[in-house]
Every structure is written in structure tokens, then in C-alpha cells.
């Protein structure tokens, strides 16, 4: 059955768009064009999907230029064929457990006026699965082929049956214009005129880029879902956090999507900005290495014992730590669960309170005692002294220092080693640590747990499972959840198993704290891809400032 947009839904959408357009008309009945200036950490130098390093800044700009086939619905569930709302694809239907047909919306056009066709999708697939062009083959590994099944019908075959096929293709896939690129050698596209001035099909069209300074996009008045409420979007490159904050405080930036906790009082005090807290996709944790820090072939002498892992987790006052480091609105999970996945646990994330007495008892039961009275536990002549690594960011540093103090109270000596990002990353992936203060930005899909926590990933060199944690029972539950029909209970069982096994001390699931200028209304920021709904933003009547006109 086609999962079509219902007529009432379409009417509602049109009504919302019409009201948005009406609201953005000024008092004299003229449209207030509107501008949004967004600060970005890096230079969006190649914002075309698959062509270059798809870092956050390229992806953020690419989201405005190139439509996805579908977008996540509120709640951010990724499982099931009805997980997404239509965007470039107006509907889709299942042929069998491995095949889906997507029907592209005939109203969508490239910014040069050419229609978007199934051929564009098939051509883009040829680009996306060319490892010489797109080095991120892991992201499309589950897709076997993308073919034209009609002028606007795309047939997608998957390598295996799983419950997130629609999400995996429709959310991750952004077609490129074949009529502009097909005649070029694929390897030459990244250096072509197209890459410098991309032609997309999204709500905003390319205007200009000043290298190292900005990318400017203008609203596409012919956008199929209605003209965007904002006429101009500027992604301003501001690598330094202090400079970004100063620009926000002086009103030169309109939005900041991750206000540092330390600066929150300052930003909250600004009358022209409001603070929005959104479910974030980040988690922070101290992962316990299952292998020796110096020899990955040898089991870790401390952390192969579950009692030890649990003791070190219980010794931490994680709620206090998370509040101090990330500010209000931060949840503390017992498993690898960001706020984005709170649907798995009924919309809330809970954690066990600290229990130092139980932690001491667990270590004693595991044979760790302070036999020489030096304040550090020992067993068989080996002191409980662990090597801890962390990147030199302010948040991880605070977490590591606070944990060190709390573990000291338990009799565990933690030697802290801070490294600049690339050096930390090298040690992180090589597993050269006993405890690593790591973090992750989780995909909207809980299937990403496989990459970071499964036994298969533990055996794979270079995988995200840097601690080489492997629990066959967890894997069984994971397999059941993946193969199942997306039942929440299955995923809950996966997280419960992880909670019971303590592969890491999970420290925080921070919220995204965004500062948004008061003059915008209907200004959603989405957790998985912050600026996907930018086209729905509009200026409150009578609130426009000079740069909006």
C-alpha cells in the first residue's frame, strides 16, 4: 500500500504554509524578506553530498540545497516503513522484504528549472557508491542498488531485511542533478563549476561563497512546498567559540545552536534572544577498555570484571557532574542513549544514583583491597592505578578531573592524560587507555549501536568499539531488535542489557541549547539535522530589523 500523504495532511500543510506566508507580510501587505545569520565552526567549502568531506558545515548547507526523500517525524523514530514524512518522495511502497519503490514528487524541480527524475537518483547512486568519490561507503553499505523503475519511480534494493530500510535510504539519500553532471568524469565533479556553484532542488538556492567567511543562500521562490518564509540564509564562518559568542551578544548572529553552558546566563539575559532546549544526539561516557592499554592482545587486568565496571560507575555522582558540566536539561543515562532515543524508554532517561558503599563492596568482592594502606586498592601486588585519556576540550577535562576525585575516594588512582584532538583520536582508536572519556553524536537510528558496541565491531580493527567490549547476550538482543518490527520493547531490552553490563560509565546526554533571535516565529530546530526546517522560519510581523529588508 502506498504510504501517501493524506489529503487532510496536505490541506493542513498548505494551511500552515499559507498562514506562514500571511504572517510574514508586513503591515502594508508587503512581504518582509527576512535574513538568518547562522554561525558555523568551519568553512562549508564543498556542500554537495558525496563529493567531499561531509562535515557538519557542508552537511548543514547541503541540507538547504538538496532535498532528502523523506524527513523524520516528531518523536524521531527511525523504525518502520512509516517512520518518515514525505519530502522529495511523495510516497513509497514495499515490494518485498528487500525492495522498496519510491515515487518522487513531480512538482520538485532543480533550481535551473529541470524536473527531478528517477534518473537523477540512479545517477547519484553511481556517484555515492564510487569509493573514489565518496569515502563514506559504510553509510550506504546496506543498499544493493538504486534503479529507475519509471520516470519518477525509484527502485531500491537492500542487501538484507531490516526495519530501518526507509529511514536508511530516504533520510540519507540526496539526489544530484544528472543533467548537469552526467557528462563529466565522476572524479572531476568535485573541482567543477557545479561544485563551486551548486544547483540543487531544496528550499534555498546558491548565491555566493566568500572562502573562510560565509556562504549565502537565497530562498527559491519556486520551491514546491511553498516559498520559504526567510529570503536569505547566511552561514557565517566563525571558528573561534569566543568570537561566535561575541557576535551573538552584539546581535550579528541570529542563531547559535550550541550555547556553551558557561555562557548560558549571559545569553539568557539578552532580551532579544530566547533559549530553546532540544533533544540532543550527543552522549558522553568513560569507557572501560576490555584490552590492556599497552597490548591489545591481552585482556585488561581491571575491567574484564563486571563488578569493577559497576563499582566505578556507582562511585560517580553523575547527575551532579552532568549538571555542572553541561547545565540544566542534561539527562544522565545508564546506557548509550542520547535524548534523541528517549522514545525507547518512554520519553525519559533515568539513571541509578551513586552508591559508594555498594561500589566498595563490589571491589572488595572482586579482591581489590588496600593492603598497604597507601589509599590505593591493590590485588596480588598490583595497584589499582589506571591510565585515563581524554581530549583537551573543557567539558571532557571537567568530567575527567571530577571522576578522578570520586574514584580516588574509592581507592582507585586515575592517571589523567589530556591530548589535543588528533592525538587523542589516535590513542582512542588504538585502544591505548584503561579508561577513555569519549563521546558520540548518535545517529537518529539505534541501529548505530551495532557499530559501537557489538561483538562484530569489537573484532573489526578501526571500528568505533574502541574498548573491544563484547557481550553475546547483548548481541542477541540487538539482532532481535534489528530483525523485528521495530518494537520499542526490543530496543528497551537492548539498552537494559547494556545497563546491566556497564561497558562504560555513561555520564551525560546533553540537550541542544539554542539561542534564537526573538524576531523569528515558527522556527523549529531539529535534533538530527538542525537546519532541515529552516525554510519554515519566518519573521514575526513588525519585528524585522535592518538586515531583514
Amino acid at each position: 500500500m502506498w504510504q501517501a500523504v493524506s489529503r487532510s495532511g496536505a490541506r493542513l500543510l498548505m494551511l500552515a504554509l499559507a498562514s506562514g506566508v500571511a504572517a510574514s507580510l508586513g503591515a502594508q501587505g508587503t512581504r518582509v524578506p527576512g535574513t538568518v545569520v547562522i554561525g558555523t565552526v568551519g568553512d562549508p567549502s564543498l556542500p554537495v553530498p558525496y563529493l567531499g568531506t561531509m562535515n557538519t558545515q557542508n552537511a548543514d548547507v547541503g541540507d538547504q540545497l538538496f532535498l532528502r526523500l523523506g524527513v523524520l517525524k516528531p518523536g524521531f523514530r527511525t523504525t518502520g516503513d512509516d517512520a518518515l514524512a514525505p519530502m522529495l518522495a511523495r510516497s513509497w511502497k514495499r515490494v518485498d522484504s528487500l525492495t522498496l519503490l519510491f515515487e518522487l514528487d513531480p512538482r520538485v524541480r532543480w533550481h535551473d528549472g529541470a524536473p527531478v527524475t528517477a534518473h537523477d537518483a540512479a545517477f547519484t547512486w553511481s556517484i555515492a557508491h564510487n569509493p573514489k568519490i565518496n569515502e563514506n561507503q559504510a553509510a550506504i553499505e546496506s543498499i544493493a542498488s538504486v534503479e529507475e523503475a519509471g520516470p519518477r519511480t525509484v527502485r531500491v534494493r537492500f542487501r538484507r531485511a531490516f526495519q530501518e530500510q526507509v529511514y536508511r535510504f530516504a533520510f540519507d539519500f540526496q539526489p544530484l542533478p544528472s543533467h548537469l553532471l552526467e557528462k563529466m568524469a565522476p572524479e572531476a565533479i568535485a573541482a567543477s563549476e557545479f561544485a563551486a556553484h551548486p544547483v540543487g532542488n531544496g528550499p534555498f538556492r546558491w548565491s555566493r561563497r566568500i572562502p573562510g567567511q560565509l556562504v549565502e543562500l537565497l530562498a527559491d521562490s519556486a520551491f514546491f512546498a511553498g516559498r520559504p518564509g526567510i529570503a536569505r540564509v547566511i552561514f557565517r564562518v566563525v571558528p573561534d567559540a569566543s568570537a561566535r559568542l561575541n557576535l551573538l551578544l552584539s546581535g550579528e548572529l541570529d542563531v547559535m545552536d550550541n550555547v556553551p553552558p558557561a555562557n548560558l546566563p549571559q545569553v539568557t539575559a539578552l532580551p532579544s534572544f530566547r533559549i530553546a532546549r532540544l533533544p540532543g544526539n550527543a552522549i558522553a561516557y568513560a569507557v572501560f577498555n576490555q584490552r590492556s592499554a599497552s597490548d591489545s592482545g591481552t585482556p585488561n587486568r581491571f575491567f574484564t570484571d563486571l563488578r569493577v565496571r559497576e563499582a566505578l560507575t556507582l562511585a560517580l555522582d553523575r547527575r551532579t557532574m552532568a549538571g555542572l558540566v553541561y547545565g540544566p536539561g542534561t539527562a544522565v543515562p545508564d546506557a548509550a542513549q542520547s535524548l534523541l532515543w528517549s522514545w525507547i524508554t518512554g520519553g525519559t532517561i533515568r539513571s541509578a544514583p551513586p552508591n559508594l558503599a555498594k561500589a566498595r563492596a563490589l571491589l572488595a568482592a572482586a579482591g581489590w583491597r588496600d593492603t598497604d594502606g597507601d589509599g590505593v586498592l591493590d590485588r596480588g601486588g598490583v595497584a589499582f592505578r589506571v591510565s585515563v585519556i581524554y581530549p583537551d576540550s573543557p567539558t571532557r577535562t571537567k568530567l575527567a578531573v571530577q571522576s578522578q576525585a570520586m574514584w580516588k575516594a574509592l581507592g582507585v588512582a586515575a592517571d589523567l592524560h589530556s591530548f589535543p584532538g588528533p592525538q587523542w583520536q589516535e590513542r582512542h582508536f588504538r585502544g591505548e587507555f584503561d579508561i577513555d572519556f569519549a563521546g558520540a553524536n548518535q545517529d537518529a537510528s539505534p541501529l548505530s549501536l551495532i557499530e559501537a558496541w557489538s561483538c562484530a565491531s569489537a573484532r573489526r580493527p578501526g571500528s568505533l568499539n574502541v574498548a573491544r567490549w563484547c557481550d553475546p547476550a547483548f548481541d542477541q538482543l540487538l539482532t532481535k531488535a534489528v530483525a523485528g518490527r521495530g518494537a520499542v520493547a526490543d530496543w528497551r531490552a537492548v539498552l537494559d542489557r547494556m545497563t546491566s553490563q556497564h561497558p562504560a560509565a555513561f555520564l551525560a546526554s546533553p540537550a541542544i541549547v539554542a539561542a534564537i533571535h526573538q524576531r523569528y516565529e515558527n522556527a523549529p530546530i531539529l535534533p538530527a539535522r538542525q537546519w532541515l526546517a529552516l525554510w519554515q522560519w519566518r519573521i514575526r510581523p513588525g519585528a524585522a530589523i535592518a538586515r531583514d529588508r
Binding site: I234, D240, A243
Partner: protein
């Protein structure tokens, strides 16, 4: 001419050795150079190996350095790993904002700084000279980013007279008049330039003051005073020129500041120049970009040194025969 050729050859050889050393040191830096591309994504060993081969990060040290030097001889600075664009293009884009900020800083330092230093030497006992001397020392002692943060807080956030960062107002209409554009450029330039000047002017000021003080007691100056030569003529003709020699050396040494001397200031003021580029490239371990910026700095150092020697010979005729 023979001197110039010899000096030029010296400069070239020194630059060559410096580039080789730079290439060796940068390749020896700890940290995963592919991190800038891979980020926190899972990468299987085959993909990692393919990436390492395509970016040349799997080469042994001697081969990596050799490849780099050979490419450099062909004028190829390589491709920046963080942006997948030619390093030369990125450097060129970033060069002029840095030249603008550094050039104006040098200009103000070596005009106002020298004039004030000379005036201060000629009025050593005046309270104004003492205050001036104290202020320049304070400016020099404060780290530039602290000074910059204070200026931003005061003039951008409290009084809101000046923009806190950036090269220009990117929301200005494309049809804005020339005057509006110039005013915009100047207001954006004001705070970073003030920071740079306040943080650096003490050096030429004090050098000039010390050199002029030493000259002021020389017999020819005393004789000129005894002859009743006007104070301005004494300052210009008898004190300033002989005191210029150490300043010329200083100017040569400071030329590289045009390119790389403003890392903190450029970061704080979001000034899209070479300084902030160096900081970002080093933090992300973007080897080709770090090397490209480093080579540019080496060339600037050598050019500055050569220029200083040339000026030295112009200022001091006794040097011309050596």
C-alpha cells in the same frame, strides 16, 4: 650586485633547509592525520589504507618529505585535507586580510611608534613621555588576546560602537554605496588593528627612544644645539637618522608578522587571515595546509631579513663596502 647575489643565495639555502626541517617536523607530529577526514566515523582498515594511500600519509618519512619537496619545486603546495581544495588557493584567499591587518599594524608601529619614541627621547623628563612609556609597556605586557577581549567587551558589547568580529558586514546590500562600504571596512578593522598596535607598538617605540637617547648626547648633537639649530632640525637631521639602524633590523624581523604574527587576534576577531588558518590547520593536523602556511612564513622571514640587510646598507653607508 655581487653582494645581493651572494645574500640572495644565502637566503635561498637557508629557506631550503628550513623547509626541509619544517616538513620533517610536521610529518613527525603525533596524531592521526586522517582524523580531519574521517572524524568520528567508523572506518574499516581497507578504507583507511585507501585514504592513507591517496593522501600520502602512509609514506615513510623520507619519501613523504621528498614528495613534498618535489611537488614544491613544481609550484604544487598540495591539497588541504580539511577542505579538499588546493593549499595555494586557500593561502591566496587568506593572504590579503592578513596583509591588510599586518601591513597597517607595521605602518602605524613604524610611523607613530618611531615618532613617539623620538619625541619621548627628546623630552625624557616630561610627564607625558613617562605616561606614554608606561602605557606602551602595559600594552606590550598584556597578551594580545586579553587586550582584544577587553576592547571587544568595551567597544562592541558595552558601548556597541564597533562590530566585535569579522572583516565586513556580510548582510550589507550589494548596492551599498562606496562610502558605506568603506565605513563598514574601517569599523570592522578598528578593534583588531587597535589590539595589534597596542600589543606591539612598545617595541619600536622603546627601541627608537633608547637609540635616540644614546644619540642625543653625542658631540654632533650637542654642537648643533650650541649652534642654535632648531629643535625639529636636531631631531630629524641629527638624532633620528643615526638612531635608525637598529630600527631597520627590527623592521626586517617584523615583516613575517604580516603573515603569521596575529594568530590569537585573528581567531578572536574572526579575521579570515593566515594566522587563524594556521591555528585551525594545526589543531586539525591538516599536514598540507600547515606545511603551506609554514613555507609562506619561511619565505617571508627570508624576504624580511634580506630587505633589512638592504635597508641597513642604505641607512649606514659604511656597510656598503662590506
Amino acid at each position: 650586485m655581487r653582494w645581493l647575489l651572494r645574500r640572495g643565495a644565502d637566503a635561498f639555502l637557508t629557506a631550503l633547509v628550513a623547509v626541509v626541517l619544517l616538513a620533517v617536523v610536521v610529518h613527525l607530529l603525533p596524531g592521526d592525520p586522517l582524523a580531519v577526514i574521517i572524524g568520528d566515523r567508523e572506518t574499516d582498515p581497507a578504507t583507511r589504507a585507501a585514504l592513507a594511500a591517496s593522501w600520502g600519509t602512509d609514506r615513510p618519512l623520507y619519501s613523504a618529505v621528498g614528495h613534498y619537496l618535489a611537488a614544491l619545486v613544481r609550484g604544487d603546495f598540495g591539497v588541504a585535507m580539511s577542505e579538499n581544495r588546493p593549499v595555494a588557493t586557500i593561502l591566496l584567499e587568506r593572504l590579503w586580510p592578513t596583509m591588510l591587518l599586518g601591513g597597517l599594524t607595521l605602518l602605524i608601529d613604524f610611523t607613530c611608534g618611531l615618532a613617539l619614541g623620538l619625541w619621548s627621547a627628546l623630552h625624557p623628563e616630561s610627564w607625558r613621555a613617562r605616561v606614554l612609556g608606561g602605557l606602551t609597556v602595559v600594552g606590550y605586557a598584556l597578551p594580545s588576546f586579553v587586550l582584544g577581549m577587553v576592547l571587544v567587551w568595551l567597544f562592541a558589547l558595552e558601548f556597541r560602537w564597533l562590530p566585535p568580529a569579522g572583516l565586513l558586514d556580510q548582510t550589507l546590500p550589494l548596492d551599498a554605496s562606496l562610502w558605506v562600504r568603506m565605513a563598514d571596512r574601517l569599523t570592522h578593522l578598528a578593534l583588531p588593528l587597535a589590539t595589534m598596535v597596542l600589543a606591539t607598538i612598545a617595541v619600536p617605540f622603546r627601541q627608537q627612544r633608547a637609540a635616540a637617547l644614546a644619540t642625543a648626547t653625542q658631540p654632533w648633537v650637542l654642537a648643533a644645539r650650541a649652534r642654535g639649530v632648531a629643535p625639529a632640525a636636531i631631531a630629524w637631521r641629527h638624532c633620528w637618522r643615526p638612531a635608525l639602524t637598529p630600527i631597520v633590523t627590527l623592521l626586517g624581523l617584523w615583516l613575517p608578522m604580516l603573515v603569521g604574527g596575529a594568530v590569537f587576534v585573528e581567531m578572536l576577531f574572526d579575521w579570515p587571515g593566515i594566522g587563524s588558518l594556521i591555528a585551525q590547520a594545526t589543531a586539525s593536523r591538516d599536514i598540507p595546509l600547515v606545511l603551506g602556511a609554514g613555507v609562506l612564513l619561511i619565505v617571508m622571514v627570508q624576504a624580511g631579513s634580506l630587505l633589512a640587510d638592504l635597508l641597513y646598507r642604505l641607512v649606514d653607508p659604511t656597510q656598503r663596502d662590506r
